[in-house]
């Protein structure tokens, strides 16, 4: 879950990282006030989650309060990779003599955090790594052994930085490493860290991603930053349909049913599990079907959860019928899902035998599940019909009048 720059900086401020004076503003008048309060030249930065702000024109410089107001007006309509700014950060402009890069992230291969440092900050780090590998260091560190500043020192020193720069950067980078682990981040990046004319350092921009699974562990921080539970911070904001799906899933802890992503087709998908959903979504599209949604059923959801998910999808405008499909299931139970989707159809005022194009969930408790499906006249198939074929049958039925 990505943080906006101002949120990342609020987190950094909690831990004493050096930051320029700044204010978040939501109007041109407030931008003017912020400029006056800060006093002197400012940089105004649109608050968006996607990168490439400078290039898109969402970062501007102001030497007067009038200019600050004008910059605000200019930044707000700018789209950065499809997203508009939610606000603007007005920050004191610093004169920088050199820029550095530091980031901590997880290396899934090494299964450890890795600290990436470069004395060539401000530009694309992957490009620096290609063209000037000696200016980029990658240092893995333990997530259980005592964390100490020497790791930061070695990482910085490995790029040739020495003298007072080394000694001043070390505590900043060490703090970043601690923040990374303490808040369950998947990315803690400062780019750039600027060296001022007086030899001190200042954090100019920050990227922070907090792991979605760890949100519950950091309720205090999220509350302090004003990040609501419905904010998923994915590549695009969630739709109402997706928010409703998340609520269905959050009702109880039993299994997963509800993580939906909205599409604009007419075939509702009640599919699972993680890998099965990806496979089935590909298959429906390959057959020319138009999915109304992506979703996942996983683990062993309760009957009521499967029911609510079904109701949600059937209530989506444009959804004519649903297809209920999964891979051969082990821990998800065929009978439990069958009960849930049938109850969901009935409570939606629909005949399950009409509303369900096909039920393809073989596996655990299938005999029991098939009995239920037969009772309600729902078309089903067992494992002898592949996921790909089942998706084809669902799509073919959509061609016929409902």
């Amino acid at each position: 879950m990505r943080f906006y720059e101002y949120e990342a900086k609020a987190l950094f401020a909690r831990h004493g990282l050096p930051l320029g004076e700044s204010r978040v503003v939501e109007s041109a008048a407030a931008a003017r006030e912020a400029f006056d309060a800060i006093g002197g030249p400012c940089v105004l930065k649109g608050q968006v989650l996607s990168g490439g702000r400078m290039k898109a024109g969402a970062v501007k410089f102001a030497d007067t309060a009038d200019e600050a107001a004008a910059c605000f007006e200019a930044i707000m309509p700018v789209e950065v990779k499809g997203q508009k700014s939610r606000s603007v950060l007005v920050e004191k402009k610093s004169s920088i003599v050199q820029e550095y890069f530091a980031a901590v992230t997880w290396d899934g291969r090494a299964k450890q955090p890795v600290l990436v440092f470069s004395d060539m900050g401000g530009i694309d780090i992957e490009e620096v790594a290609e063209t000037h590998p000696e200016h980029v260091s990658k240092t893995h560190f333990s997530s259980i052994l005592p964390l100490s500043p020497r790791i930061a020192k070695e990482a910085i020193g490995a790029t040739g930085v020495s003298g007072s720069d080394l000694n001043r950067l070390t505590p900043i980078i060490f703090e970043l490493m601690q923040i990374f682990l303490r808040y369950d981040l998947t990315l803690a990046e400062i780019n750039p860290i600027g060296k001022l004319e007086n030899g001190r350092f200042v954090v100019l921009d920050g990227h922070v991603d907090l792991e979605a699974e760890a949100r519950g562990l950091h309720g205090d921080l999220l509350e302090e930053l004003g990040i609501g539970e419905d904010e998923t911070r994915q590549a695009r904001p969630p739709t109402d349909f997706e928010i409703a799906g998340a609520r269905v899933n959050a009702v109880d802890h039993r299994g997963v049913a509800g993580n939906v992503v909205e599409f604009d087709g007419n075939l509702g998908l009640v599919i699972g599990a993680g890998g099965g959903s990806l496979t089935l979504f590909d298959a429906v599209r390959k057959h020319g079907g138009k999915p109304a949604n992506y979703c996942e059923i996983g683990g062993n959801p309760s009957v009521s959860k499967a029911k609510e998910l079904t109701k949600l999808i059937l209530a989506k405008p444009g959804v004519e019928r649903i297809a209920v499909m999964m891979n051969v299931v082990s821990n998800t139970r065929v009978d439990i899902v069958a009960r849930g989707v049938i109850a969901g159809c009935i409570e939606s005022g629909k005949d399950p035998s009409e509303a369900i194009t096909i039920f393809r969930i073989p596996g655990a408790w299938e005999d029991e599940g098939f009995k239920i499906l037969e009772k309600y006249g729902v078309e089903y198939c067992d494992r002898s019909v592949s996921m790909y074929e089942a998706a084809g049958r669902a799509v073919a039925k959509m061609g016929a009048p409902a």
Partner: protein, 302 residues
């Protein structure tokens, strides 16, 4: 032969009185696995389908001697502690079923496991099965369903998706191809054992003649596997099924597992397919193509 688990593996279930754990305990016992005890703090003295329950792992070890493995099926916030408890009581093989465990906690558990010389499978997995021998975890479901999907044979199966482990095995079984061991390795960004880390075990198992894997967008695990095969000149032909091709058009959106998100070029299915094929891995577009591709590859090596 098989890898990781045989009918002689003695294991416990941590969190044995929970809804999922009760289920998998019955299923594992029915399949012939040896579950010697279970742990739920505060529930000592109970039993679950005849398996005695203890308050802590130490007490199980005291009562039953050395234990080979443990299935951890406890809520996310207790998972790391449960793994630590298993590790510090000398358990060498830990299957973590729980999902939604933050990766810091997983990484810490994996690091301790390494220090203790132990292996973690998962988290967010269904465990593993050596067909005809034993299974450890919910893989395959009830014993009767498990026997329907899994059969003894020569194909090693590994999958980031628990469900797709059984789908692939079931497809192989229907095509008359049995499995040596099938491992659901888990779908999270950090897991105890990756494809590449399990390959040496399959490589050393004379019964395993080929490998089938399930693959999806996100992460570097396929690249790691491709590197391993190249560097070790593996004797085993590998066939991969690649799901989630639609995700290449949807960067930054997370679908399915925590590890399934396209962030960079390397995470896309197109790039993964290219990498795997360049290491000699055959990539199937549909599950039902896997048996045919395996037969072809097996005919080439024999």
């Amino acid at each position: 032969m098989s890898i990781l688990i045989t009918k002689d593996t003695r294991f416990i279930v941590q969190g044995i009185t929970g809804r999922e754990a009760v289920n998998l305990t019955r299923e594992n016992l029915d399949y012939g696995s040896q579950i010697v005890g279970g742990v739920t703090p505060g529930r000592a003295g109970r039993d679950v389908y005849g398996v005695p329950v203890y308050d802590c792992v130490r007490d199980v070890v005291k009562a039953h001697g050395q234990i080979d493995g443990s299935i951890v099926s406890v809520p996310p916030r207790f998972t790391q502690d449960a793994i630590f408890e298993a590790l510090e009581n000398g358990i060498q093989l830990i299957v973590v079923v729980t999902e939604n465990v933050p990766r810091r906690e997983v990484a810490q558990a994996v690091e301790l496991a390494k220090l203790r010389g132990a292996r973690i499978i998962g988290p967010n997995c269904l465990g593993m099965i050596s067909p005809g021998e034993a299974k450890m975890g919910g893989i395959g479901g009830p014993a009767a369903n498990t026997r329907q999907a899994y059969s003894k044979g020569e194909i090693g199966v590994m999958s980031r998706s628990g469900g797709m482990t059984t789908e692939i095995a079931s497809t192989l079984t229907n095509a008359g191809m049995g499995q040596s061991t099938a491992v659901s390795i888990g779908g999270d960004a950090i897991i105890g054992s990756s494809y590449a880390e399990l390959m040496p075990l399959f490589e050393a198992d004379p019964e395993t003649k080929a490998i089938a894997i399930y693959s999806e967008p996100g992460g570097r695990m396929e690249a790691e596997l491709a590197d391993w095969i190249r560097e070790n000149d593996s004797r085993l032909p590998v066939v991969a099924f690649m799901a989630g091709r639609f995700m290449d058009e949807m960067k930054g959106m997370r679908f399915g597992h925590a590890g399934t998100i396209v962030e960079g070029v390397e995470d896309t299915t197109a790039e993964k397919i290219k990498r795997m094929e360049s290491a000699g891995i055959s990539v199937a577009e549909r599950i039902e193509e896997i048996p045919e591709l395996l037969r072809k590859r097996l005919a080439e090596v024999s």
